[in-house]
Each structure stands twice: as structure tokens, then as C-alpha cells.
């Protein structure tokens, strides 16, 4: 069975959940080979997780400086492995970096790439939701080694233990791969709340929240639910909440179990970032707000009355 290369997303010594999803998706296309790009010794630490989700091989592309340069080294290593292994496909996570790696790789391999894939069939047909999710497109790569860039949650990760043979990969970076040097990484903490794109529950506020100060009401309901806090573009543009929390076409796309929209009208721009959420709850004063077309449970009312009451009720139930 042909290999399928899976680029391992990892940070601070842990494999990200999307990697287990990519390995699961790879199994329907061939035999997954996990590709770990990191400092020496990184791959060995991930072996248990990668084996559990089906990696027959684990390529360890390790060197002291491979993570010191932006994007290009990972594309070079994947291209090198693709040349050696002639894989059936290459899977990468649809993060900002993943899309850029895929772009460079597509040029190097002269291969087709499909990005923001939300479902991938064993026949290589990839589903994408385009134009803010208004249109569902199914596509196939027709040239070269298919490169699929998958969104988180596209497949449910299921274990299927495999051998996970560790294979060392010699890393010798091209001059062109070392032109953009990473000098520093600064974490701007979202505090104790979960990451917006990883969270099971997201509570977002919109223009209706009215002020930065009033966002406390959104945060309080989020905290009662153990949720991440998001904001609509209108709220961000009005200066109510920082841009990094923006959900929508030009912000983040989230697909949590529960999305709570407080004072958000539901413009296309916003819907693009949240309409694949499993359950949607909306609170808005305007009974005609388009957000209600999406909501599984809608409340026509004042968010400053409804949200605090809901937070109190949640805390009561949790004891």
C-alpha cells in the first residue's frame, strides 16, 4: 500500500489534535507516514501518539535549526520525502502555516492542492465549503501528488495502532529555505480560557454588547460554561474586543459543539466563521436578526438580562 505523508502539527512538546485527525483521514488513502519536523529527539517523544493513530512510519526530520526559519524548511523536507517515497497523497493541517507549506510544496512538486477540506473520501474526493460556507464543492486533484489541507474536525480521530517505525531523515536546508529567520515567539495569553479554535463551547459578543466594558457579560457566561470568548467583526471594529478573538470571514473559523451568539445580527461575514457549529444559540433584541435563521435555540430579548441569568443557572446546575 502506498504511503500517505502526514505533516505532524506540534507545539511545546505535544502533538496537536488535528494530527490524529489527519492520520485517521490518511488511513483511507493508504498507509500513513507521520513526518515530524523539529529539534533532535522530538519525534521519539511523539511516537506513542502517532503509532496509536496509525502511523506505520515516523519520519524524524530533526536538526537544531530546522524550526528557526519560516515555513520553507517544512516544504523542503516534505518535497524531499515525496521524491523518495512517491506517496499517494500528502496531508497538512489547514492552519496559516499549513496553507503556506502546502503552497510552496505544490510549486515544488507541480501538484494540485485542495485546501480547507472539510471531508475527504477514500477516492480522493475532497469537500470544501466556499464563499463563507454558502456553496459546498467536491473536487479532485488531477495533477501530481495530491496535497490535501484539512480543517480541524473534518474527520473524527479514531485509534488504529500501527508499527510506527522511526526513520531518521537527513536535514540539509537549501539556501532559499533559510531566508526568513524567526527571531522570537511571543505568546499573548487568552488567560485561563480555552483557545478559540480548539474550544468545545464558544460564547461570542457583537455590536449589541455596546462597549468594551460590557463584554464582561459575555466573558462571564463563557466562564460559567468553560468556553472561549469570541467577537463579531462589528464588535472588534468598534474596539470592544481584541482582533485575535474575531470570528468570521476575516477572522477565525470555529466549529464547536455549542456556539452562543450574544447581540450578533448574523451578517454573512460572521456566519462564515461559525455556521458549522453543532448547536447554535442566539440572543438578540431584534426578532428579525438573520442569526435566528441559524439558531437551534433563539431568544428575542435583552442580552444583559438573559446572559447573566443563564450564567447563574449554569453555575447552579454545576453546583
Amino acid at each position: 500500500m502506498a504511503e500517505v505523508l502526514v505533516l505532524v502539527e506540534h507545539v511545546d512538546g505535544a502533538v496537536k489534535k488535528i494530527t490524529t485527525e489527519l492520520l485517521t483521514a490518511a488511513r483511507s488513502l493508504g498507509e500513513p507516514s507521520a513526518v515530524v519536523v523539529g529539534t533532535p529527539g522530538t519525534a521519539a517523544g511523539y511516537a506513542d501518539t502517532l503509532k496509536e493513530f496509525g502511523a506505520a512510519k515516523i519520519y524524524a526530520a530533526e536538526s537544531d535549526d530546522v524550526l528557526s526559519y519560516l515555513v520553507a524548511p517544512k516544504a523542503q523536507i516534505l518535497a524531499q520525502l515525496a521524491g523518495e517515497a512517491s506517496p499517494a497523497a500528502i496531508l497538512i493541517a489547514a492552519t496559516a502555516e499549513g496553507k503556506e507549506i502546502a503552497g510552496r510544496l505544490a510549486v515544488k512538486l507541480e501538484s494540485g492542492l485542495l485546501y480547507d477540506v472539510v471531508d475527504l473520501g477514500g477516492d480522493g474526493v475532497a469537500t470544501q465549503a466556499i464563499f463563507a460556507g454558502q456553496v459546498i464543492v467536491k473536487s479532485q486533484v488531477t495533477t501530481g501528488t495530491p496535497i490535501y489541507v484539512l480543517k480541524g474536525g473534518a474527520v473524527d480521530a479514531t485509534p488504529a495502532p500501527a508499527a510506527g517505525e522511526l526513520v531518521e531523515v537527513a536535514v540539509s536546508l537549501d539556501e532559499t529555505a533559510t531566508k526568513a529567520k524567526i527571531l522570537d515567539r511571543v505568546v499573548e495569553s487568552s488567560g485561563s480560557r480555552p483557545e478559540l479554535t480548539d474550544a468545545n463551547i464558544v460564547v461570542s459578543g457583537g455590536r449589541g454588547v455596546g462597549s468594551a466594558d460590557n463584554f464582561k457579560v459575555v466573558e462571564d457566561l463563557a466562564d460559567s460554561l468553560g468556553a472561549a470568548v469570541g467577537a463579531s467583526r462589528a464588535a472588534v471594529d468598534s474596539g470592544f474586543y481584541p482582533h485575535q478573538f474575531q470570528v468570521g470571514q476575516t477572522g477565525k473559523t470555529v466549529s464547536p459543539q455549542l456556539y452562543v451568539a450574544l447581540g450578533i445580527s448574523g451578517a454573512i461575514q460572521h456566519r462564515a466563521g461559525m455556521q458549522t457549529s453543532k448547536t447554535i444559540v442566539a440572543v438578540n433584541k431584534d426578532p428579525e436578526a438573520p442569526i435566528f435563521e441559524l439558531a437551534d435555540f433563539g431568544v428575542v430579548g435583552d442580552l444583559f438580562a438573559v446572559a447573566p441569568q443563564a450564567a447563574e443557572e449554569v453555575r447552579k446546575r454545576k453546583g
Partner: protein, 259 residues
Amino acid sequence: MNIVVLVKQVPDSGTERSLRADDKTVERDSASLVINEMDEYAIEEALKVKEAVGGTVTILTMGPDKATESIRKALSMGPDAAVHVNDPALHGSDALATSKVLAKALQGLEWDLVISGAESTDGRAAAMASMLSERLGVAGLTGARKLTVDGSTLTIERQLEDGYQVVEAQTPAIVSVWDTINEPRYPSFKGIMAAKKKPVDTKSLADLGVDAGEVGLGAATSKVVDAAPRPPRQAGQKVTDEGDAGSKLVAYLAAEKIV
């Protein structure tokens, strides 16, 4: 510093967009077409660099005749000139073919810095800057929320989910920017009038030395096998708050086993 800004004309992302029924390419004929939003931030950043260190700003657009409107709009913000790559054979080009054509066009221009939006609102591949830096063998400083120019040294703050990276490179380089980087200026009346007289150099594929067979729908590296509007999400129950909606909401969540 000579700067080229990549500008793409796209259907307005605030409207309903669709694919053409015949060849599944983006429907442009009936769409309201605008400058890709992120590109306005790229133009603004280029103008700021020019104001700080001198040089020129040139707009580079690939697109059909209609794209002229977006080019004039871009020029009205202040850039000096534009190059419009326009050829009927380009219809249906994918990102790979587009990057091939833009790379050729860039090779015909003198520049130290290329600035693009981090992604377009129609394609959202967010890969053009990376594809171009790969093709041209220059540094790619992608996803910037801040750009600092010091002689030939460029430093960006690359926006991440949970913070940022500081990344440095030497010119020539390609920088892509998010909408967090600046606040684009509005064209002034003077700017709008001046834009009408600014040079727009139109290039065909033959001018660029690109074979028509390498681009367009026929050369696409993937094909659409099916496209359909998303089935509308079924709206659920809607209650009007009578003082107990917060409790009702949580009761609903509990019934759904979410809390």
C-alpha cells in the same frame, strides 16, 4: 524602495456569491466586484513604506477587463502606476497557474519588496505569497500584522493564533499582511482625479512569455466534480424573553446534554 502590491478583484464578500453553472469558476458577470479587502491593507502598508523611505509603488493585477475598475480604485489611494495582466486564456486559472503568471510579471519589474494581502476573500488559499517566494527564490515574510523596514532588513510580526513571531529577512522579499496591520486610507478627490492619468501597463501572456497552455481551466491541477448551495440550516425554536429566557436557554442546553 520599489514596491509592488498584488491586488485581486473579487466578488464582494458581503453578498451572496456563486460558481458558474457551466465551468464551475467564480461567477463574476453578475457579481458586485471589489478590491479584495486584505489588499487594501497591502496598498496602505506600501504607501507607508514609501512615505518613510522613498521609492515607488506599483499595483500588479491579473484579471479580466473589468479588473480595470479595481486598478483605478487602487491607484486612487496613491500608488504610482499599475501593471494589468489580462488575457482571455487566463480564465479558470488555479492558484498554481496564477502564481506562475504573477512570478513572470514580477520578473519583468524592478522591485525590492512585494506586498500582498494574506488571503483573498474568494479563494482563501492564503498561499499566493508563499507560492511566489518559492517560485522567485526570495524570502517570504507571511501573515504580518506589523512591518518594519530598516535599510534592506525587513522585520515583521507574524500573527499567530495565540500571539506572534518576530521574523526577519533581507530584500528582495514578499510580505503578506493581515487586516490588523494598519487602517487603509480613503481615496481623496485629488487622488481619484490623479488616478485617471496614472500609467496602466497591460500585459498579455505573450508579452510575459507564458504559454497559454500552461494556464487557464485546461491546465488546472484539480477539478470540481460537484458544486451545490449548502442546504439551509433548519432554524430551531425561538422564544421571547419574559424574564425567564436565561433559564429556558440553559434548560434547552441541558436537554441537549451540552451542560
